[in-house]
């Protein structure tokens, strides 16, 4: 066993385990544009892993590779210690990877409750025929799913908007509902693409707290993309830094903060 496979305990007493997700030498091209160039890193069980970097660095592309929206030209993805075959996004969701999007992707016509319920999709086993003929198991399953969804709603403190069509909610709440949908899947790995973008300070604080609580209470492994350096340094265990599709830093917030390449990238590139 090599050094990286060992588990360790954080300052605040959480146990970080072996890598759940390993991306190895990933290269992703769109025509002439190389969005990701030979990048490797891992995400360990129970940790909050941040991916940072200037706009266009390839952060979202990386999440899209992990959840199967994009298929890299080169490289390997290892999940739970096994090399993953090329897969469709829905199959990857079934494996326990849930996500949110940089530009909110909710079911706008549905209520908060229904949106979060769709997060249970991969856990709904009973098929339609059974539902029609044999009510028992279907009802039990439905009520279990409802309990989990209600728990998520309580957890995120959005009881008041349960029945509201999400299209009518303000931006910050939509982000929260989207997080709720991902949480309802009880994922092994949760991917968050800029969960706090466009939020005011107070909303950011709420969201940071939710992310920390999810990780703490359910032990969920989280990879998140975030622009706000303060937030990143506060909540993440380890940070990987991308710039122009290349990895320029990887380590604890302190290590990354003192990395000269990272400092140059952030000073050299004007970003929003």
């Amino acid at each position: 066993m090599n050094a990286t496979a060992e588990s360790y305990v954080t300052e605040d007493g959480r146990t970080i385990g072996a890598p759940v997700m390993e991306v190895k030498n990933i290269t992703l091209k769109f025509g002439g544009v190389t969005a990701i160039s030979n990048i490797s890193f891992d995400i360990r069980e129970g940790e909050i892993r941040a991916i940072i970097g200037p706009n266009g660095a390839g952060k979202s592309s990386m999440l899209n590779v992990i959840n199967g929206f994009y298929h890299p030209q080169e490289g390997e993805i290892w999940f739970h210690g096994e090399k993953r075959k090329p897969m469709k996004p829905y199959q990857i969701a079934q494996q326990g990877i849930a996500r949110t999007f940089q530009n909110i992707a909710l079911f706008k016509g549905m209520s908060t409750l229904d949106n979060i319920m769709t997060g249970r999709f991969t856990h709904m086993k009973t098929n339609m025929l059974k539902q029609a003929i044999w009510k028992g198991p279907a009802e039990r399953e439905e009520s279990l799913n409802r309990d989990i969804v209600e728990h998520v709603i309580d957890f995120l403190e959005i009881q008041a908007i349960r029945k509201t069509p999400v299209g009518r909610l303000p931006y910050g709440l939509q982000k929260r509902v989207e997080l709720g949908r991902a949480l309802a899947a009880q994922p092994k790995l949760l991917l968050l693409d800029e969960p706090m973008a466009g939020m005011n300070v107070e909303e950011k604080e709420d969201m940071s707290r939710f992310i920390l609580d999810v990780n703490d209470e359910f032990g969920t492994t989280i990879a998140l993309i975030e622009h706000d350096m303060g937030v990143v340094m506060d909540i993440s265990d380890r940070v990987v830094v991308l710039d122009y599709g290349k990895k320029i830093g990887d380590g604890t917030p302190d290590e990354v903060r003192n990395n000269q390449d990272v400092i140059d990238a952030y000073l050299g590139v004007a970003h929003d």
């Binding site: 829905y90 969701a93 992707a105 079911f107 016509g109 999709f121 991969t122 339609m128 899947a185």
Partner: protein
């Protein structure tokens, strides 16, 4: 109450019954449009093809008989058996589901992420292909479709209501229309239950709302496409049976799709309730207009009334009856 009143009621009931049939055809369009943003030009031809297939199976026709006979010099026409109606309907449904698989596998799969206009063109191609393929498979002659539903006016109802007013001879309603209405109502109700209360139904709505999000929660787009095209095939089969039983299975059956267009303009392309209410409004509207105004302007208003009504509607409510108001972001 006067005879005139009851005659008007009769016209309205007839309009409602016709309207339900329009709704049925419109539903086929809505199902596919909601789930994949495709306006399926082939929906009418699907109804024709489904009805031809049903007649062919029922009467024991040899598929591609003409082609086989030409190539091998044989004289095949019929197998010499008849398939019971219910079994034949199930088999025809099987053919429509197979068709859905083929459409997904050989057309949609290759057109993912293309512009809607490209997909629309593909369905035009599909429509003409199916039309020719149907003729090749089952022959192009007019066929008689008998699924055992009663035809003609309902005498019992007419007698029972004949003394409701002076000069009123009772409600004259067609048996087949009443059956068609009952079946369409059951079908529409089950579609609504299906879409609201089953896992697959929820998945359908999710896909209709946001593809990416649907994928991310574990929904397979390809499976959903097969399901919606199968559903649309099923709806086409039912519409084909009703219309085919009424006026024979022939090319004009595919034109019922044209009747669905005004319904869609009225009800919106993405709303199931819209398709239902839109169908009723068009059905009742055109029958009432023909009854009240038709005689003064030479009749045959049913050919164009629906379109004029839909156009007027478009001017005042372009988003349809139940659509959300479209406000352009600037």
């Amino acid at each position: 109450m006067s005879a005139d009143f009851f005659y008007t009621v009769e016209v309205i009931i007839n309009g409602l019954m016709t309207g339900v049939m329009y709704s049925l055809v419109a539903l086929g369009f809505v199902l596919i449009f909601k789930a994949s943003g495709v306006f399926n030009y082939a929906q009418g031809v699907m109804a024709l093809f489904a009805a031809m297939t049903l007649v062919g199976i029922q009467t024991g026709q040899v598929p591609f008989a003409h082609l086989i006979n030409t190539i091998f010099g044989t004289h095949l026409h019929k197998f010499g058996w008849e398939v019971p109606t219910l079994l034949a309907i199930l088999l025809a449904l099987g053919v429509m589901i197979l068709f859905a698989f083929i459409v997904e596998r050989y057309i949609l799969k290759h057109l993912v992420n293309q512009d809607p206009i490209i997909l629309f063109m593909a369905t035009i191609g599909l429509a003409y292909f199916m039309e020719g393929f149907g003729d090749l498979m089952w022959g192009s002659e007019i066929k008689n479709l008998d699924v055992g539903l009663p035809q003609g006016g309902n005498i019992w109802l007419e007698n029972a209501t004949s003394d409701w007013a002076d000069g009123f001879y009772g409600f004259y309603l067609d048996n087949l229309d009443m059956w068609a209405t009952a079946i369409a109502v059951v079908l529409v109700a089950s579609l609504i239950v299906f879409s609201n209360y089953t896992k697959t139904g929820r998945a359908l709505r999710a896909v209709a709302d946001d593809n990416q999000a649907a994928l991310s929660v574990g929904i397979s787009l390809r499976t959903i496409w097969v399901i919606v095209w199968s559903l649309a095939g099923f709806v086409a089969l039912v519409a084909g049976i009703m219309w085919g039983a009424k006026s024979g299975v022939q090319f004009s059956l595919s034109l019922i799709a044209l009747k669905a267009l005004p319904v869609l303009m009225l009800g919106g392309f993405t709303s199931i309730p819209g398709a239902i209410v839109g169908g009723m409004i068009i059905g009742v509207g055109e029958k009432l207009f023909e009854f009240a105004v038709g005689p003064y302007i030479g009749g045959a208003t049913e050919n164009w009334f629906a379109y004029v009504l839909a156009l007027l509607f478009l001017v005042f409510r372009p988003q349809g009856l139940f659509g959300e108001k479209i406000i352009e972001r600037v």
